[in-house]
């Protein structure tokens, strides 16, 4: 993993191979860091089909060491750690996808509306500026605390968890979009569209939105990684999904008591899976940034 990370930025585009056309090789290099994420996404779809044991039932004696039929051992209740770790990709990644879509969609919409109305006079502008100050203020409550409060009070389910996380991570998207809208708003093509007789709504959706969405979309894989971390943290703190639902955070927290007794495997493997998932989202960020920044875009 380190090799891939270190190799990508140092590799200058023209490789010393003049005979082959440069294009396919550069394209291949650009897409390579997205591979771990693609594999994870594939695993999410087929997770329940490929696991050797049912991830939610007791299948073997408790606390078996890794090896043999149970690749990652079994936990204190006798559930297969490998099956649970793999099956948890489904819960954790689906949640992260939901969060990313919601946070980005709401962030784009809100950022667009705020950016377009901020300079307006009267109530509209006042509201816009007020909302803007408020988004800045939301930084003052740590995301994890909001998660604990919302999930703790509204009850743990994939939906409430996702909504809570989307709310927490949205302000960033709003800020990014708003800043871009403020830049784009005065561009000539927007004026042209307005003079051509498009309604303010049409101008906003057809011309301003496509040209100001880039930063938020680039940031969305970041949001993806953060939402995996926060959802696992909430699970670890005991306000996440109820066991036996396989979820990395819950698996880690229930496994911690085994660590004291030397049973490291129930905790280590979900923690590693968490690292791999977040790191592959980070690699994807690099790919998206490179693609959107490349000339011709």
């Amino acid at each position: 993993m380190t090799e891939v990370l270190a190799a990508v930025p140092t590799a200058p585009a023209p490789a010393p191979a003049p005979a082959t056309p440069a294009r396919p090789s550069t394209r291949w290099r650009v897409w390579l860091p997205a591979l771990p994420f693609a594999l994870l996404a594939l695993l999410t779809v087929v997770a329940r089909l490929v696991v050797p044991f049912d991830p939610e039932t007791v299948v073997a004696p408790a606390n078996l060491e890794p090896g043999g039929a149970h690749l990652f051992g079994t936990d204190a209740t006798g559930m297969d750690v490998f099956s649970r770790t793999v099956a948890a990709t489904q819960v954790n990644l689906v949640m992260a996808v939901l969060v990313t879509i919601m946070a980005t969609a709401i962030g784009l919409a809100l950022g667009l509306v705020l950016g377009m109305n901020e300079a307006a006079g009267g109530v509209r502008g006042l509201l816009g500026r007020g909302m803007n100050r408020f988004t800045d203020l939301t930084d003052a409550v740590p995301p994890l605390i909001v998660g604990v409060v919302v999930v703790g009070l509204f009850g743990p389910s994939i939906v409430s968890l996702s909504v809570a996380l989307a709310l927490i991570l949205m302000p960033n998207q709003v800020r990014l979009t708003r800043a871009e809208v403020l830049k784009v708003r005065g561009d000539a093509y927007v004026d042209a569209a307005r003079m051509a007789g498009l309604s303010p709504w049409q101008v906003m959706v057809r011309h301003v939105l496509p040209n100001s969405a880039r930063p938020a979309i680039e940031n969305s894989s970041n949001i993806f990684g953060v939402s995996i971390i926060v959802s696992a943290s909430l699970g670890f703190l005991g306000v996440g999904l109820n066991p036996p639902t396989p979820e990395w955070g819950v698996m880690i927290s229930t496994g911690m008591s085994d660590v004291m007794l030397g049973g490291w495997w129930t905790t280590l493997f979900p923690a590693l899976a968490l690292c791999v998932a977040v790191a592959s989202a980070a690699l994807l960020t690099g790919v998206i940034t490179r693609l959107t920044r490349s000339p011709g875009h």
Binding site: M1, T2, L5, A6, A7, P9, T10, F134, L137, D139, A140, V141, P142, P143, L144, I145, V148, V149, G152, L153, F154, G225, I228, I229, A232, S233, F236, L237, G238, V239, I252, S253, M256, V259, M260, G262, W264, T267, L268, A271, L272, L274, C275, V278, A279, A281, A282, G286
Partner: protein, 347 residues
């Protein structure tokens, strides 16, 4: 007098805005807590044998939920202006005391972690600016990317498995000190208190138990700070003010300080944001190592439906974060006078 006001407007206005921000937040915290679906009073009282209106009213009174939302809001504010956050119906102690008995230990851990981050970021930035070895740069960039994208508690678990289970060089993650020791209590900051009282056994015990969590915090959170710092440095190192300093024969130290001063604005903002994130985020690390921190009070309040405790906690945490943001703004306006409001910048 008016010229004094004009010259000092930048920090006076910023200071006046601080209580306003805290007030807005206190109100938001109040309503956030009351957005809970269903009737929390009903969840609390034992309705199996039937209950009367008096039972209900008494339970609501106990939970601080008597009367309409607006009368509760009025009560909340009239207490808040006198610095009273109310009494927790669950523990029976004032919320301020409950929060303050836990907050210093969290602040200590976060502050030590951030100091480590600053030190490491400065060292890394100095290395990247002053060396040209592409191999070294690649290794550092690799660390930055990898560490910046991995959750801290997962790294802490790897550390625990390695150092506690396999190598057995660190004590069990079961608290700040050995269970047989008692923590001195002077200021509430555990490590500081052990120094003040001169209790070196406790100091050594805390240090041994802080080593891994702090190392993890520093390793995982430094890259985001370092990235801001090296962005700023690479911009400023060849900027015209630097060239002017060099040309006018300033000493090396003075040149370095000047570059650092101009480059550090965004890093200071980042540091403030990191403090805010960690005050809440470090709870996972605290739980992992058995340190009781301030966020555990919030989790307890949520589980027990302690509304008074929860809203008090939110007010204190938001107040603390807003105070830190305030300091960040002031530091930035001192470092770079162009950031003061009303200052006109050419170009």
């Amino acid at each position: 007098m008016s010229s004094f006001l004009a010259r000092h407007r930048w920090w006076i206005t910023r200071t006046l805005v601080l209580p306003l921000h805290i007030a807005v937040f206190a109100s938001v915290a109040f309503f956030l807590v009351r957005l809970v679906p269903g009737d929390p009073v009903m969840a609390r009282i034992d309705a199996s044998g039937g209950f009367t209106q008096e039972d209900y009213d008494r339970a609501a009174e106990q939970m601080g939920l008597a009367g309409s939302v607006w009368s509760q809001f009025g009560r909340f504010w009239s207490q808040l202006v006198t610095g009273n956050l109310g009494t927790s119906p669950v523990t029976g102690r004032p919320v301020w005391e409950e929060v303050m008995s836990r907050l210093p230990s969290t602040v200590e851990l976060v502050t030590l972690g951030l100091l480590g981050c600053v030190a490491l970021a400065l060292v890394l930035a100095a290395i990247t600016v002053s060396t040209r070895s592409p191999r070294l740069h690649a290794v550092l960039r690799g660390y930055g990317k990898l560490a910046g994208s991995v959750p801290d508690f997962a790294v802490a678990i790897l550390g625990l498995v390695l150092f506690f289970v396999v190598l057995q060089v660190i004590p069990a993650p079961l608290g700040r000190v050995d269970p047989r020791m008692t923590l001195p209590d002077v200021t509430g900051f555990p490590l500081l208190d052990s120094v003040i009282t001169g209790d070196w056994a406790v100091f050594a015990a805390i240090t041994a138990r802080y080593a891994l969590p702090l190392a993890v915090l520093v390793l995982v959170h430094t890259p985001s700070l370092w990235r801001q710092l090296s962005l700023g440095l690479s911009e400023q190192v060849t900027a015209s003010p630097t060239l002017f300093k060099v040309a006018s024969g300033a000493t090396r130290t003075s040149i370095h300080l000047s570059v650092l001063r101009r480059a550090s604005a965004s890093s200071v903002v980042m540091l403030g944001a990191m403090f805010g994130g960690l005050i809440g985020g470090v709870v996972v690390i605290e739980q992992l190592f058995g340190f009781g921190g301030v966020a555990q009070f919030a989790i307890g309040s949520v589980e027990q439906l302690d509304f008074v405790g929860l809203q008090g906690f939110l007010v204190v945490i938001a107040g603390l974060c807003l105070l830190v943001f305030f300091l960040v703004d002031l530091v930035n306006m001192i470092l770079d006078p162009r950031r003061r409001p009303g200052v006109r910048v050419d170009g």
